[in-house]
């Protein structure tokens, strides 16, 4: 937001060095503060440069022709500079336009997260590497929780998935390098399989985003962008080390990046290993059961994560191309005393070690191959994204007879294998100076296989094909209109499934028979959906006003359509409904944001109406002693929003406060008047941040205190539990120090989460259902060493 009121000056002075080449000296400053800017990227065709601590840079160029450079820096508007060495014998000052007026170019190249967020009429938040580094938690989504409107569904200490304004699972899409992340998002105990250290730039859209991303982005998007292209003829590496007391985490991640002239590469290896996490209680009281804990450890919640990624890219002033290959592998245990809701006894000695992973556990491997190419033509910019993903997830538990099922032969309870192929093609062009038009085509093919002895969802194939057109119309400098239209067609083919054991059936003629029960059928269903969006952004002085109306949709999932099986651990029988329609949602978003100097304040209310929200409804019936849960559709409304305000109290002390609230209500159906599931409570965050004077070799010392105030959630829907409110205090200390004469400063972060060791429940945590509190006090140390 600050970028709105800032602009950039670049001073270039050129001196003739030799007959054939010239050395251009320049510097970059912030227009408002007149302070030099460090780390600004000056990217040319064959070369790129970075400004130093004094904002200065030096370019050496052959003399024959002119060169084009892009100047990019986080939080500042991007500028293009043409340098002609032949004419450069005097100092040239170039002023970059303020970001607010630089909207006349839809650029896919090097925009800052904050900048992109402002250009959209949808409500979005840009997240930079600095934010991620300064707020890092155990998983990417836990780090992003600090953003108002964003929460998580967590299971244990290492896994979580995004919730935006109370919508999660398949209603929020995660996109990495233009490709939608496809895993088992529908699952309660699934976590996002992305290496958080490999993420440097992302954008969160808090609202309907089907227009650009198709089905599923009904509640919002977490859009992870590729990191910036490294400077030409450069090599850098960093080492990230972290350790935590609560779950005895040891984490090491090493990344490197480099570039010759036009070819560049990046790579990263991450390994994290953690023990059982500790809760601030000696015993868990769940219904009338009491589970005693040893040393406050939640037994069998240990796990590990091992990730590797490598990307290779090519850049010229006509083409930018990058191919990413990555693999994320993780395994973690589930709390041993209850599997789902089911209380379990076991002969396994869970307390012999807090680091071993016994049954029940799950392991997951996610492989990704993503290719992106952008062609910069004179009139058109073409963008191609190709993706292949393989997700393999296995849930293991002790083989135990259930209902009519005898003791199974092994521990492989559920196995999911998913292969996803994605194709996106987009063209951006400007028919005249007023319009920026994007048209695009997206297609995705998913093949979902199942295995194991427990049935929950059928095998299915899903193919979607969508096309869209989007126009950004600049009415005048301050007023921008944006609108678009999209059509999607989708096909779902479910495969029949029979139990591997016989169940007893009481026939009408008083006889009984034992049959292999059919759990799903061969079905082919197709869906057609229109998405649309219309909005404006108005930028005046220090205030941005946005309004957006969007229609988005979500195709039903195979389990919602065709499941017909027992979920013993949740004590329920889940029954699909083959006649479900696509979920359709209409949402009105407004945002008013004011940023003047160090003062920021804003509000972003929304109102949302679902024609037919798909909901797993607990009925009054039983099937083989399990309560029948039936997928059905109800009308629903949601409203709420976020408030934020912040100011520097002194030049070194800053206070920020945010508030987030979501109200949901089912307005038809058997649960009329109840909320939608997983409705987050009213919550606020007050942050104090104090800059401290340098101490010995430590500089940029910043002390932060966060007070999270969360109200009780008394608005629930069966089978949820009410959750009391809580106050939570976190501290952190960030600092930098010189550790090597040639390298950048090392960064050190010390944080204390849950300082007072407060026992509290997170309403949207998986373990909330069995009355397991959130982790207790945690002291963490993280070190980032650049090389």
């Amino acid at each position: 937001m600050r970028a709105l009121i800032l602009s950039l000056f670049i001073g270039l002075s050129v001196s003739v060095f030799a007959q054939q080449s010239v050395t251009i000296k320049g510097w970059v400053i912030d227009q408002n503060t007149q302070q030099p800017l460090e780390g600004v990227n000056i990217v040319g065709v064959n070369s790129s440069f970075i400004s130093d601590a004094k904002g200065a840079f030096t370019i050496e160029l052959p003399r024959q022709r002119s060169y084009r450079f892009r100047i990019t820096h986080l939080g500042y508007a991007e500028q293009e500079v043409i340098v002609d060495p032949k004419d450069f014998d005097e100092i040239l000052m170039i002023a970059l336009l303020p970001e607010a007026t630089s909207l006349d170019e839809i650029e896919l190249f090097g925009k800052t997260p904050q900048q992109r967020a402002q250009e959209l009429s949808s409500i979005s938040v840009g997240v930079s590497k600095t934010f991620l580094d300064n707020n890092r938690e155990n998983s990417l989504m836990q780090t992003l929780k600090k953003i108002p409107g964003v929460s998580t569904i967590t299971i244990g200490s290492g896994q979580s998935k995004p919730v935006i304004r109370g919508l999660g699972f398949n209603r929020v899409s995660v996109v990495q390098n233009g490709i939608k992340h496809e895993a088992q998002q529908w699952g309660n105990d699934h976590g996002l399989e992305i290496d958080q250290y490999a993420v440097e730039d992302l954008q969160i859209i808090k609202g309907p985003a089907s227009l650009l991303y198709g089905s599923d982005a009904i509640g919002g998007i977490v859009d992870i962008r590729p990191p910036k292209i490294p400077a030409a003829q450069s090599f850098s590496a960093e080492l990230n080390l972290a350790s935590e007391t609560n779950n005895e985490l040891r984490s090491v991640s090493a990344g490197f990046r480099g570039r010759g002239d036009q070819w560049y590469y990046r790579g990263r290896l991450t390994y994290r290993d953690y023990g059982d996490f500790k809760v601030p209680t000696d015993q868990i009281n769940y219904e009338s059961y009491v589970f005693e804990l040893v040393d406050n450890q939640l037994r069998n919640t240990a796990g590990f994560e091992a990730n590797a990624s490598f990307s290779l890219g090519y850049v010229s002033d006509r083409v930018k191309s990058e191919t990413l290959v990555s693999n994320v592998n993780g395994k973690n245990g589930f709390f041993a005393n209850a599997h789902g809701l089911e209380v379990r006894s076991s002969s396994i000695d869970y307390d012999r070690s807090n680091r071993d992973i016994d049954l029940p556990f799950h392991n997951v491997n996610h492989f990704k191959l993503i290719h992106n190419t952008t062609w910069y033509g004179n009139a058109h910019t073409l963008q191609l994204d190709l993706g292949y993903q393989n997700n393999q997830r296995e849930e293991h538990s002790e083989a135990v007879a259930h209902g009519y099922m005898p003791v199974p032969p092994n521990t492989r309870e559920r196995v999911f294998t998913k292969n996803t192929f994605t194709f996106n093609l987009q063209d951006n062009f400007k028919p005249n100076s007023k319009h920026d038009i994007s048209i695009g085509l997206n297609s995705e093919l998913q093949d979902n296989q199942i295995g194991g002895w427990g049935f929950l969802i059928p095998q299915f194939l899903r193919w979607t094909l969508g096309g869209f057109a989007f126009d950004h119309y600049r009415v005048n400098e301050d007023f921008h209109l944006q609108g678009g239209l999209r059509y999607d067609w989708g096909l779902i083919q479910t495969k029949e499934h029979f139990d591997w054991y016989r169940s007893r059936i009481d026939n009408p003629d008083q006889t009984t028979s034992y049959v292999y029960a059919q759990r799903s059928r061969n079905q082919t269903l197709d869906f057609g959906n229109v998405s649309a969006s219309l909005g404006f952004s108005y930028l005046k002085n220090f205030t941005t006003i946005k309004m957006n109306l969007g229609k988005s949709f979500r195709m039903p999932l195979a389990n919602e359509l065709a499941s017909d099986g027992v979920n013993y651990h949740m004590y329920r029988f889940e029954r699909g409904a083959i006649d479900l329609d696509s979920e359709v949602s209409y949402q009105l978003d407004v945002e008013v944001d004011h940023a003047r100097g160090t003062f920021v304040a804003g509000v972003s209310p929304f109102f949302n109406y679902f024609e037919n929200f798909i909901y797993l409804n607990p009925t009054t019936e039983y099937y083989e002693t399990l309560q029948v849960y039936q997928y059905m559709q109800t009308q629903a409304m949601r409203f709420g929003g976020e408030l934020w305000i912040g100011e520097n109290l002194t030049s070194d002390l800053r206070i920020d406060a945010t508030l987030e609230y979501v109200y949901t209500e089912q307005t038809s159906g058997p649960k009329k008047g109840f909320t939608l599931p997983f409705n987050p409570p009213l919550s606020g965050l007050i942050s104090l941040s104090q800059k401290l004077p340098n101490l010995g070799g430590f500089k940029n010392i910043q002390l932060m205190a966060d007070l999270r105030l969360t109200d009780a959630q008394n608005r629930i829907v069966p089978p949820e539990e009410k959750t009391p409110g809580y106050q939570l205090l976190n501290f952190s200390l960030n600092t930098q120090f010189k550790w090597n004469r040639t390298a950048d400063d090392a960064r050190l972060r010390l944080k204390v989460n849950n300082v007072l060791n407060t026992p509290f429940f997170d309403h949207t945590s998986f373990y909330r259902l069995i009355d397991v509190p959130e982790p207790g006090r945690n002291i963490a140390l993280a070190l980032n060493l650049p090389i």
């Binding site: 009338s288 135990v400 209902g403 003791v407 002693t625 305000i645 105030l709 089978p719």
Partner: protein, 157 residues
């Protein structure tokens, strides 16, 4: 500047005091089911003889109306679970099932009463494996809430 700070303090205070609990017309109460009364059957650690017929009894109640019952009996030869009763039962050695008793019965309740007693006659067949069993009762109300209880029992020869 001072005005802005006032605004922040006001905002922060507003956060702290915001905590109104709304009164709701909705049914937010789960039904309950229990065998913890004199006639309740089976009681924890009860021993049931093969070939005998027993009357299982459990009392249920709800604020709005009861809808359905379920009664399940499954073997616990591997001791994979335990009941929610206060006393711990003495377990036999872990063993493999041969012909265990599996009972998965459901019953609907007529007229949505606020209180009801489930009374079911169950015969223990002569040919089932003796040993430790787990007996689980559950009940739903008209809204779709569920209440459960479970009892460890033993089937003897």
């Amino acid at each position: 500047m001072i005005k802005k700070i006032h605004l922040i303090v006001f905002f922060a205070l507003g956060l702290i005091v915001f905590g109104c609990t709304e009164t709701s017309e909705l049914d937010e109460e789960k039904p309950t089911i229990s065998v913890s009364y004199a006639q309740g059957f089976p009681q924890a650690c009860a021993q049931l003889k093969r070939g005998e017929t027993y009357t299982f009894r459990a009392k249920a109640s709800d604020n709005l109306g009861l809808a359905s019952y379920s009664l399940g009996i499954h073997h616990n030869f591997d001791q994979h679970t335990h009941d929610d009763q206060p006393e711990a039962c003495e377990m036999d050695a872990v063993k493999s099932p041969d012909n265990p008793l599996t009972l998965l019965n459901t019953y609907s309740v007529e007229g949505a009463p606020l209180e009801d007693e489930l009374t079911i006659s169950i015969s223990i067949p002569n040919n089932v494996d003796p040993g430790d069993y787990h007996c689980a009762f559950s009940v739903t109300d008209v809204t779709g809430w569920q209440g459960r209880t479970s009892v460890d029992i033993k089937i003897i020869e």
